[in-house]
Structure formats: structure tokens, C-alpha cells
């Protein structure tokens, strides 16, 4: 509403979105923006649907992102991407990890995992960037690097240099994993559908 940029990170509790939001928060603060990062701890983290809001600009007020406001949604899981599409702004972009994690109604057989999610989003003229982040993370050396693969993808659309991203990655990840994460970032950034 006031020039503030909005990035949402959505996924399943336990998928490691915390590190992604920490990376973004650090990077954007270093760039000199006013930044707010908001997430909910506690019960919702137990395998439930989780959301992190990252907002930056010259002055940020609300800590949350509302429907129709997100410039980017980075979804760690396909169904969660569909769930939060209503938060995407017109001409916004959704980056979706194609990994599927069955929610409880699917596990109990009450419902089926929705098919054709990505096709339906594209039919609605949503800018969808689908990426098999799990395979790329494994290629980089660790399945846990899914979050950094997706951040690498996001980096393509933000005007912040790759060097700055890598500095921020080096500052927040465990030294032992810097190499794996840098590789994951590059794979995410360069991946073509």
C-alpha cells in the first residue's frame, strides 16, 4: 500500500522455513531497508500449515501480509502454494516446490491430494515458477537445503547481487554447510523448467 514489498514463505511445520526468513531478514536489513518478519510459533508448528511474512521498504507498519498483497510467495510444498495463492498480488509471482506432503485428511482417506494444482493456477494467469527443490537440494549435497534452493530462485527476481546473498548465507549457516548451501543457492538460481 505504501511501497512496501511483501514476500510470503509458506510450507509445512518442520520444513525449515525459519532459516529462509532469517536469511531474508538479515539480507534486507543489511540493504538498509526497514524490515518486519512475522511468524507464529507453538501449536501451528507441529506439522501444520505455516506462514512467514517478510515485509520491507522505507517504513513498514503492519507485521503481516494480507490477501492480495504478496509480491512473492515462496511455497515449500505444492498444496500450501495453492492454499495461499489468494494472498498473491495481481502480477505477483509464486515460486512452488513441487514436493507433495500429504495432510491428515488425505492420510485418513477423507480427501484426495488435489491434482493439477499448477495447471489450475496457470489457467488463472498466476505467474507460477515450479521447481523440484528437493532434487536440487539433494544434488547440492543435502535434502535439508531445500530452503536455500528456493531462496536462490527468489533471488532471480530481487535486485540484490548474488554476492550479497552469499555473504548473508555465510553469516547465518553453520560453517560446515556453507559450501552445500552456496551450491544449493546457485542451483535454485540457475534452474530452468
Amino acid at each position: 500500500m505504501n511501497g512496501t514489498k511483501n514476500i510470503m514463505i509458506v510450507g509445512v511445520g518442520g520444513q525449515g522455513s525459519l532459516l529462509a526468513s532469517k536469511l531474508l531478514g538479515r539480507l534486507l536489513t543489511d540493504e538498509g531497508y526497514d524490515v518486519k518478519v512475522s511468524e507464529v510459533h507453538g501449536m501451528s508448528q507441529r506439522g501444520g500449515s505455516v506462514v512467514t511474512y517478510v515485509r520491507y521498504g522505507s517504513k513498514v507498519y503492519s507485521p503481516i501480509i494480507d490477501m492480495g498483497e504478496a509480491d512473492f510467495i515462496v511455497s515449500f510444498e505444492k498444496l500450501e502454494g495453492a492454499r495461499y495463492t489468494k494472498y498473491l498480488a495481481e502480477n505477483g509471482r509464486i515460486i512452488v516446490n513441487t514436493q507433495e506432503i500429504d495432510p491428515m485428511p488425505v492420510i485418513t482417506g477423507a480427501m484426495e491430494y488435489p491434482s493439477e494444482i499448477l495447471g489450475k493456477l496457470r489457467e488463472m494467469n498466476v505467474n507460477v515458477d515450479a521447481i523440484d527443490a528437493l532434487s536440487l537440494a539433494e544434488q547440492a549435497g543435502s535434502a535439508k537445503a531445500v530452503n536455500i534452493v528456493l531462496m536462490g530462485r527468489l533471488a532471480r527476481y530481487l535486485s540484490i547481487s548474488r554476492e550479497k546473498w552469499k555473504e548473508a548465507i555465510a553469516a547465518i549457516v553453520n560453517k560446515k554447510f556453507i559450501e552445500v548451501n552456496e551450491k544449493a543457492f546457485d542451483l535454485g538460481f540457475g534452474y530452468e523448467e
Binding site: V37, H41, L79, T85, K86, D102
Partner: protein, 582 residues
């Protein structure tokens, strides 16, 4: 130094800068990180108390002893600490004392959405409410000066969107520590009728003094915009939504000292605008105050008193069009929180569901056992209510329900307030069976130590309360321990204890699978040719097991090899992928 901090970490820093050197708390979302972050600072003594009442009283003791002290809790925790709070208002403090209370509008992780501001009004103590991390730091620091100047405990009200939102803060120099030796002062510190009667007028005078402060203090701030027709009185996170929606088009009176509220300042503010709107989350506390001083305002007629506000809800309430989003017309499966793969509670809940017992539940991760497919919980009220509740339930069920009901409670919750209920079961003799789900940690709030774990908040070894000995000491003769990964044992012991005509305790013991020291096993796999698609394994509600192409499938990225599902499969279709079980 500028840093991006969650509100709770900013409070921890603010308490430190304010000279706080003693913190006693009980974990509760969204307040937990205040004490966790403070505990990383070696200059502050920090501890997890068994419950909020103990924490608040311990903090009072430290204040009495001459050290600035604090305690932190969630909104429902203040119900537990309400007893000391109301009389602390009378005694006042020696060194400054701050009680941090975090409300949870929208109930992200709570059983109700009560508004803590009512406590400040009822107990007649000042309450501060920050609107971002920077104010969280500043207010918690200045709260100690307020506390000492006005001889009162100070409530600091947080809410989920302030406590768990990160924004930029600047650190500054800590205040000098106070020189407050303890000196005996019976008329101030012994609240028996003769002395308390003398203190009550002091409390009323203090509130008057604080009201005068509210008229001038910079805890309350005015943003006057020339020509603005609308004036909004707001506080906390609601201020942020108002600014987001109205920007500089409205004048604002932002309240930081939410109790007591100013009078003349509100009247003067109202004179400057044509329309006065009060925007606050949960109850209409400021609105009621405005009406009581004769100011015509609009408040809850516009904004809901249910759940959280947001920029879109505030915009809608003000008749401003908010940008819409894409709508995907699809009935998507919900994804509620679930018990983790390998959660030790699952085996016991399966056993309870299988035996069709009525389960009086409690507060913790194990409340999740209420959900499908286990559906194993009948009621959940508040901390400790399972153990107290089953006693009353069984007393009136004479015969019918007896032997078919259990209470379930976690280790931390049992110590918090379950043990008093167990004393009642023993003393007033009901043949109740209490299952203590001992996962050796305070789970839901994110792994805090408690008196049964053998470690303190710093992770150093501490006295470990032995649950078996404790239960026996309060008069329970039948105390059994089972491994919830062993379904046969759980079933046998449950049946035996339910059949007994005396109080009994079953301790279902296995550490939380998410604890770092817990070694998990290799994932199990399903032999497609052996699986008959009977779906027995799905009855566990394990997030790692689902049906794929008509056969059971174990997700290798989630399975931790607990082996509970293996015990349910009649066709030996689920087996080890290699390596040792558990």
C-alpha cells in the same frame, strides 16, 4: 547497534538494560522466548518455575530482596498468577518488578483469547503495551523506573504479532542498578487486614498519580495531521494496521500506557477532529473508557472483538476498498497441526481409543490426540484440569463410567498443577486412573526443561523430581510405568489399572522424538505384495503413513522407525529397511 529482533527478544534485552537481574517464568506461547533469550545473558539469573504463580511470587521475593525482577507468562498464565498479582498491587515493590503477559488473539496456540488489560484494571496496576520490537525494548526497560517511582508491579502486555514479529531495534546502555537493601516494613509487606486496610488508600492514590502521568507521559503519543477529519485512538498492533490503511490521512492518539488511560488528553484529542474512532484488538477497553468520560466514539461497532485485526479487516471496517487476491475455487484439504511421526503419545492414545475410554484431557502437544483419526480426547479446559476433572466425573458416574475413564496429562503440566488434583483424588478417594504422558520435556512450547527432566534452564544438571515417588507420596499405591511404543504392554496395563477399585497412575514414558539426544531408527517400508489395504496402520494418524496407489506407503523422509505401525499390521507388510529398530 541496530538488529532485527522478535518482540520477545527485544523484551529480554529491555529487561536487561532496565537492570533486571532475576527472571522466573513458566513457558507459554507466545511469551516463552522472553525468558529463553534472557537466559543467554549470564548477568541475569533465569529459571523455569513449576507454574506462573510460583514464578510471580519468586520474582516478588527477588524484588523484596532488592533486585529488579521479572516474570513472563501467556495470558492464561496470568490467571494462575492472579492471586499474587492482586495483593502485590497493595504491597508494591522494593526493587522494580515487571510482569510480562502475552495475549494470543486468534488463538494460534491457546484455549481462549482473553484480554489481559482487564487484569490491570481489576488489580489497579499500570500496564504498558508496545507496538513493535523497538518499543518492546524501550517499554520493558522503562517499566522498572515506573515500578520503583510509583511503588507498583508493572504489567507489560505483548500479543502474538508483537511477540513473534521481528523489527529493527537499537540497543543502548543499561540503567545503573538500584541500591535497594531489604529492610523490614510490616505495614507495607504483611498483607493482613489491619495493614492491608492502610494500603488500599495508597493503591487508589497511586492510580490517581498514574492517571496524572498518563496525561503527560510520552508512553502515549499524538500524531496530529492538519485538516484530518478522523482521529483514531489505538494501541499495540492495532496502531500498525491503522497506519498501514490510513497513513497520514488521520490524526492518531497512540496509547502506550494502556492502564490507567488519560482523560483530558483524550478530550483534547477529540476536539481536534470530527470523527473519533477507537481501534483496539479484542475487547473495547479504551472505547468503554472514552464513553465513561463523555466522549462519543465508534469502536466495536466497526471492529470485531473476535480474533486478530489485520490491514484488510481494518480497511473493510472503515469502508475502504482493500486490494483483492486470486481466488482458487477449490475445496483444498486442511492441514491442521498433528502429532509428529514417532511421537510417544501416539501409542497410548491408540490404546485409549481402542478401549473406548472417556479421556479427560489437558494442555500440551497431546491435546492433538483429540483430532481424527484418533479422536481420543473428550474435554480440555486448562492446565491441570484433567486430574481434577476426572475426580468429579468419576464421583458422579457411580458404576457406569467408572473403569472407563482416564485423565491424561503431560509431565510438565502435571508438575504445574496436576499434582494438587492427584492429592484430591487420593484424599477424597475416587478410583480414578491418571495417565501421565511423560515425554521428559515441555513439548508444545518448544522444549523447555522442567522439574522432572533433571536439567535447569541453562541445561545444567538439576534435582530431578521422581514422578513415581511423588505419586506414591501423595497416596497412590498403584503406580505403573509403560513404554508407549509397546502397544501390548499399554493395553494390558490400562485394562488392569481401570479394573482396580482404587486410584492409580500410569506413567507412559518415552522422551519426545524431537529431542536431540533421542536416537531415531531407519524408516520402515511396506511390501506392496503383502499389504492387503486394510488401513489398520492409518488408524494411528501418523503423518508418515498414507495410501499410495491403493497400498499403504511410509514416507521415508518423515518415518523415524518407532515401529508402532508394525505392531498393528496383521500381514507383516511393514518391515525394517535395514539397520536396527529404534
Amino acid at each position: 547497534m541496530k538488529k532485527l529482533l522478535i518482540g520477545n527478544e527485544a523484551v529480554a534485552r529491555g529487561l536487561y538494560e532496565g537492570g533486571c537481574r532475576f527472571i522466573s517464568s513458566y513457558p507459554g506461547t507466545p511469551s516463552t522466548e522472553i525468558t529463553e533469550f534472557a537466559a543467554k545473558n549470564d548477568e541475569i539469573y533465569c529459571e523455569w518455575a513449576p507454574n506462573e504463580k510460583v514464578a510471580c511470587e519468586a520474582a516478588f521475593g527477588a524484588s523484596l530482596g532488592g533486585v529488579r525482577a521479572a516474570c513472563a507468562m501467556k495470558h492464561v498464565g496470568l490467571n494462575v498468577a492472579a492471586d499474587p498479582l492482586f495483593t502485590l498491587s497493595y504491597t508494591g515493590v522494593n526493587a522494580g518488578m515487571v510482569i510480562c503477559v502475552a495475549d494470543d488473539p486468534a488463538m494460534h496456540s491457546s484455549q481462549n483469547e482473553q484480554d489481559s488489560r482487564h487484569y490491570a484494571i481489576a488489580a489497579k496496576v499500570p500496564m504498558l503495551e508496545p507496538a513493535d520490537s523497538s518499543e518492546a525494548l524501550e517499554f520493558s526497560k522503562r517499566a522498572f523506573l515506573l515500578s520503583e517511582e510509583y511503588d507498583t508491579p508493572v504489567l507489560l502486555r505483548m500479543c502474538t504479532r508483537i511477540a513473534h514479529a521481528q523489527s529493527i531495534v537499537g540497543f543502548s546502555e543499561p540503567l545503573p542498578l538500584p541500591d535497594k537493601k531489604y529492610t523490614k516494613n510490616p505495614e507495607k509487606y504483611i498483607m493482613m487486614p489491619a495493614y492491608a486496610k492502610k494500603r488500599h488508600p495508597f493503591v487508589e492514590k497511586r492510580m490517581n498519580d498514574l492517571r496524572a502521568l498518563a496525561e503527560t507521559s510520552d508512553f502515549n503519543k499524538e500524531e496530529i495531521h492538519e485538516g484530518a477529519q478522523i482521529g483514531v485512538i489505538t494501541s499495540g498492533t492495532a496502531y500498525q494496521y491503522i497506519k498501514e490503511v490510513l497513513g497520514d490521512s488521520a490524526s492518531i492518539l497512540k496509547i502506550g500506557l494502556v492502564n490507567p488511560l488519560p482523560v483530558e488528553r483524550i478530550k483534547n484529542f477529540a476536539k481536534k477532529v470530527k470523527r473519533v474512532i477507537v481501534c483496539e484488538e479484542l475487547d473495547g477497553v479504551i472505547e468503554t473508557h472514552c464513553r465513561s468520560i463523555g466522549i462519543e466514539v465508534e469502536g466495536k461497532s466497526l471492529f470485531s472483538q473476535i480474533g486478530e485485526l489485520s490491514q484488510s479487516s481494518v480497511a473493510a471496517s472503515l469502508g475502504i476498498k482493500h486490494q483483492g487476491g486470486y481466488s482458487l475455487d477449490e475445496n483444498l484439504p486442511v492441514r491442521p497441526p498433528v502429532m509428529c511421526a514417532g511421537c510417544p503419545h501416539r501409542g497410548m492414545y491408540y490404546t485409549l481409543a481402542k478401549n473406548k475410554v472417556t479421556v479427560i484431557g489437558d494442555i500440551g502437544c497431546y491435546t492433538l490426540g483429540a483430532q481424527a483419526p484418533l479422536c481420543a480426547v473428550d474435554t480440555t479446559l486448562c492446565m491441570g484440569a484433567s486430574v481434577s476433572g476426572i475426580h468429579g466425573f468419576n464421583k458422579v458416574q457411580s458404576g457406569e463410567g467408572s473403569g472407563k475413564t482416564v485423565a491424561v496429562i503431560g509431565d510438565s503440566t502435571f508438575i504445574h498443577s496436576g499434582v494438587t488434583g492427584l492429592i484430591n483424588i487420593s484424599y477424597n478417594n475416587s478410583a480414578s486412573t491418571v495417565v501421565i504422558l511423560d515425554n521428559s520435556i515441555t513439548g508444545m512450547t518448544g522444549h523447555q526443561q522442567n522439574p522432572t527432566t533433571g536439567y535447569n534452564i541453562k541445561g545444567d544438571p538439576a534435582t530431578k523430581i521422581d514422578l513415581e515417588t511423588l505419586c506414591r507420596a501423595v497416596g497412590i499405591n498403584s503406580v505403573r510405568v509403560v513404554d508407549p511404543y509397546d502397544l501390548d504392554e499399554c493395553d494390558r496395563v490400562l485394562k488392569e489399572e481401570l479394573a482396580k477399585d482404587e486410584p492409580s497412575v500410569i506413567i507412559s514414558r518415552r522422551p519426545c522424538v524431537l529431542l536431540k539426544y533421542v536416537k531415531t531408527g531407519d524408516p520402515f517400508v511396506v511390501s506392496g505384495d503383502k499389504c492387503r489395504s486394510c488401513k489398520m496402520c492409518l488408524k494411528l494418524g501418523c503423518p508418515a503413513i498414507s495410501m499410495k496407489n491403493g497400498k499403504a506407503h511410509v514416507d521415508p523422509t518423515l518415518c523415524v522407525g518407532c515401529g508402532v505401525c508394525v505392531q498393528l499390521c496383521k500381514f507383516d507388510a511393514i518391515h525394517n529397511s535395514g539397520g536396527s529398530m529404534r
